[in-house]
């Protein structure tokens, strides 16, 4: 077990609730404090990777752009977990994005077991 590390799981679709934004702000806060942050999009969280979201026109703060800016804030790693069911909508989104590393569920499990602290949104 290594200390000074945190794993953040983001499981909600963007914009329809505050969870995606809460997860991002928690990640930035943790990174600011010097923690090594691994951020994982899974379940409906994978929908946050849709890059052509109409957030600008609808005057919403872009979730995708905030995720893309993670590397500027020293966030160690941004992952997305391959969906377990065959959901073509989410598979298409994952395939066409380049900002998150695609990992299988077994890697997520290894990440969880190696973590001391985990937050889920």
């Amino acid at each position: 077990m290594i200390s000074g590390k945190i794993l953040i799981l983001s499981t909600h679709a963007p914009y329809f609730s505050n969870f995606a934004q809460d997860a991002i702000e928690a990640a930035l806060g943790a990174s600011n404090t010097g923690l090594s942050v691994s951020f994982v999009l899974l379940h409906d969280g994978a929908y946050q990777l849709a890059s052509n979201a109409d957030s600008g026109k609808q005057k919403r703060k872009s979730i995708y752009k905030q995720l893309k800016a993670f590397e500027l804030y020293d966030i160690e790693a941004l992952y997305v977990v391959t969906p377990t069911d065959d959901n073509t909508l989410v598979s298409d989104i994952i395939e066409s994005q380049t900002i998150a590393e695609v990992i299988p569920q077994s890697t997520l499990e290894a990440l969880m077991r190696d973590s001391v602290h985990v937050l889920t949104f």
């Binding site: 914009y15 329809f16 849709a50 890059s51 109409d54 957030s55 919403r60």
Partner: protein, 95 residues
């Protein structure tokens, strides 16, 4: 009847309406309309498959906000259509 469906819990929708009831008296005007909003937009195809007799629509703003592809397959509607639908299809039930 208009059902505004905003959840991803399709079992909840199934507990409220049965497909057989979506088209009463064989009168097309009596068709049940299901409008997918919020989290439900990701499931509009599953909902259409589950309720083939219903009219399944999707709120355009939410669909575009999510960044989903605007294909011919999905029937997107604007807020002004939602207003008209609500007037023409009372009661309006939000789930």
């Amino acid at each position: 009847m208009l059902i505004n469906f905003s959840s991803k819990d399709l079992n909840k929708l199934k507990s409220i309406i049965d497909d057989r009831a979506c088209k009463t008296d064989n009168d097309p005007l009596c068709k049940t309309t299901i409008l997918c909003i919020g989290d439900a937009i990701y499931h509009h195809i599953a909902i259409r498959d589950m309720f083939p007799s219903a009219r399944v629509l999707v709120l355009r703003d939410d669909y575009l906000l999510a960044g989903l592809p605007d294909t011919a397959e999905v029937k997107l509607i604007a807020y002004e259509d939602w207003v008209s639908l609500s007037i023409e299809n009372t009661p309006v039930i939000t789930v």
